[in-house]
């Protein structure tokens, strides 16, 4: 395992520790012992900026759902359109959008637009399988957010759901936001998750 820390200091990344580990290559042989190839182990850590989307990812760790809205009155296609996934700039006029807290709207109006129960995952997956992918529509929001459903019920198109947030020990990734059926009681939420705050 890599052992490292990273901070932003005066606008620059300040890295310390090991960001990769070195493992030896191994030969790939056929059954007769003939050399066919070589393995190339790679174990490294990327750093990545959330940039202007950071308020969204910080918001879900605090139990709030932050979207954005185009407030440019001259924008013919998207004036007053609300976007979630959060867009830093309006996709039409490219003016900077305004952050809007839609947590209360989401609590009242979130519904499953479509879903998929997936038994498989890729390497590095941290979610429990099967993963219940859900795409969520919110009243007054132009777009359809992808997330996942927790709880005992299977997803259905049109199902009313509520956002929940991993406010205890967050991962600071999109997996800190999930949904549960709207009637779920707080005591039945998965460990680490709460309703909005």
């Amino acid at each position: 395992m890599s052992d490292y820390t990273i901070k932003v200091v005066e606008g620059k990344y300040k890295l310390s520790g090991d960001f990769h580990t070195i493992e030896p290559n191994k030969p790939i042989l056929d059954t007769a012992g003939k050399l066919c190839g070589i393995t190339n182990p790679r174990n490294m850590v990327y750093t990545h900026s959330y940039g202007g989307e950071a308020p969204f990812f910080a918001g879900i760790t605090k139990g709030r759902l932050i979207a954005t809205r185009c407030d440019n009155k001259d924008c013919k296609d998207s004036y007053e359109s609300v976007f979630l996934p959060f867009r830093i700039h309006c996709p039409d006029c490219l003016e900077r959008t305004t952050e809007v807290d839609i947590t209360d709207i989401a609590n009242k109006s979130a519904r499953v637009y479509t879903f998929m129960v997936c038994e498989r995952s890729g390497a590095f997956n941290t979610l429990e399988k099967p993963i219940r992918f859900v795409n969520i529509e919110f009243e007054g929001v132009t777009t359809i957010l992808m997330s996942y459903l927790l709880g005992k019920q299977e997803p259905k198109i049109g199902m009313k759901v509520r956002p929940i947030f991993r406010t205890k020990s967050p991962t600071y990734t999109i997996t800190d936001l999930a949904f549960v059926p709207a009637e779920t009681a707080e005591k039945d939420l998965p460990a680490g998750f709460t309703f909005s705050k």
């Binding site: 190839g37 790679r42 996934p85 998929m116 997936c118 890729g122 777009t143 957010l145 992808m146 997996t175």
Partner: protein, 472 residues
């Protein structure tokens, strides 16, 4: 963008005609532990040279610039893999560039190579594509593919691209498929058809005879999709050679006219916004007047039930090539059958059937080489190569393989290439005793759709015999 300006809807046109001179494939397999990628690319180039009676050295003398389609650098841990191949093909110091647009990489590579000829920059170009997906274990491969989704908003959700795609399949299944058992069987028929056609294709790696029941009993991947509804993961290479008219006729007797267009849509399906359906030449406002009443839940366009990128690629291509109705004006198509259900979605996006009615293309028998209902030739046969489900999906090569197979059809040489016993032998295979000739008699015009993942990029390539052109 949910409304378009007149300039954005301009019908494209090449500054001069572009012709397809030749093309070729390597063999496709799940893995090639004994071959480097360059060996597969050289196989494809040599095939294309032999197709017009040249040596590879002779063919190379015509090439002026090179376009390489290779999607997933991170699978091979080799950046600038295009430069490696270019060097091994012995094409330095010609100008070259890499192209990557996910699953549409092959089609996009042809799009770029064609524009270079059309502009006059080059008189002859190489479009070569390949993929190498056999160098990591499957779960790591799934992670690497999921990196083609949005890394902050999607990839951490399971690191599994199938999940991001299958939500669209679910929506289509429920809204337009109405969760009907009969529709489920129609989807299975597509898999039976495409594996069955691949059985007669020496290049492919999953040709076999199966039944609808076999498909319906295969393991569930993401309900309602089962293992046999899904495309292959392959290794291999394909290429085409394009040229202007004068050069093309110097190189071969019967080059084919090329029309090539592209469309795009949001990388995240989440970001799809509701808009009016852009109409194709065989549709009017009346076509969709009752769509939401007929199919409740289908109110949004494209929602998660259609691919706007495919619709736009077809819009540009049909209006340019004067295709009024694909079922009337085309003789053969190769579609991007990543999944049986997305194949049906594409029938609608490119106007073979209106939105909501795609299943009829299969159920009528129109999509077959020989219509199983009538015993007569299918009206518009689809994926006679076996497609991505039966033949191959080596991402960067796929869109090029499709065009190569359409070329065999439009040249009337499909049986010569697919039926050559020496080729079967060279690939270590036995030509089936019940091998069938899948040439579409009298084919003059064909189309290939190359499609990326959730529909972020789609290209449309049309090939025509020059005397069958409709735009002059």
């Amino acid at each position: 963008m949910i409304t378009f300006s007149k300039r954005q809807l301009k019908i494209p046109k090449f500054a001069r005609d572009v012709y397809l001179v030749t093309g070729g494939n390597s063999e496709f397999r799940r893995a090639f532990p004994e071959k480097r990628t360059e060996e597969l690319c050289i196989d494809a180039l040599q095939e294309s040279a032999r197709y017009i009676g040249m040596t590879a050295a002779e063919l190379k003398k015509y090439i002026h610039t090179c376009y390489y389609g290779h999607f997933a650098d991170h699978f091979g841990d080799q950046l600038l893999g295009e430069a490696v191949i270019h060097d091994r093909l012995g094409l330095d110091p010609l100008g070259t560039i890499g192209v990557k647009t996910g699953g549409a990489t092959g089609g996009s590579t042809i799009w770029e190579a064609a524009k270079a000829v059309a502009s006059g920059y080059s008189d002859c170009t190489l479009a070569m594509g390949w993929e190498r997906m056999d160098e990591v274990p499957t779960d790591e491969g799934n992670h690497l593919i999921s990196c083609a989704a949005d890394k902050d908003w999607e990839t951490p959700l399971g690191h599994i691209y199938t999940g991001y795609y299958a939500v669209m399949a679910q929506k289509y299944w429920q809204v337009y498929g109405r969760e009907e058992e009969s529709f489920r069987r129609t989807l299975a028929e597509i898999s039976v058809k495409n594996h069955g056609y691949a059985y007669h294709n020496p290049f492919g790696h999953a040709g076999f005879k199966i039944t609808v029941e076999d498909v319906l009993k295969s393991p569930v991947v993401a309900y309602p999709l089962r293992a046999l509804d899904c495309c292959l993961m392959s290794v291999g290479a394909s290429c085409v050679i394009l040229a202007d008219k004068e050069t093309a006729y110097q190189m071969c007797k019967n080059p084919l006219l090329v029309y090539s267009t592209a469309g795009s849509h949001t990388l995240r399906p989440a970001c799809r916004r509701d808009m009016d359906i852009p109409l194709l030449p065989n549709e009017t406002g009346e076509t969709y007047k009752n769509l939401d009443r007929e199919f409740p839940g289908g109110e949004r366009y494209p929602g998660f039930t259609g691919f706007l990128a495919a619709r736009m690629a077809a819009y540009y291509a049909y209006n340019w090539a004067r295709i009024k109705d694909p079922s009337e004006d085309l003789d053969v198509v190769e579609l991007h059958d990543a999944f049986t259900i997305s194949d049906v979605q594409t029938y609608e996006d490119i106007g073979i059937r209106p939105y909501g009615k795609g299943r009829d293309y299969v159920e009528s028998g129109d999509c077959y080489h020989t219509n199983p209902k009538t015993g007569k030739p299918g009206r518009l046969p689809a994926n006679l190569s076996g497609g991505l489900i039966g033949c191959m999906h080596a991402v960067g090569a796929t869109g090029i393989m499709q065009v190569v197979d359409v070329m065999y059809q439009v040249h009337g040489r499909h049986a010569e290439i697919h039926g050559d016993p020496e080729r079967w032998k060279r690939y270590g295979k036995q030509k089936p005793k019940d091998w069938e000739d899948l040439q579409v008699k009298g084919a003059k015009r064909g189309l290939a759709i190359s499609h990326a993942g959730v529909g972020s990029h789609v290209t449309c390539t049309i090939l025509m015999q020059p005397d069958a052109r409709l735009d002059k």
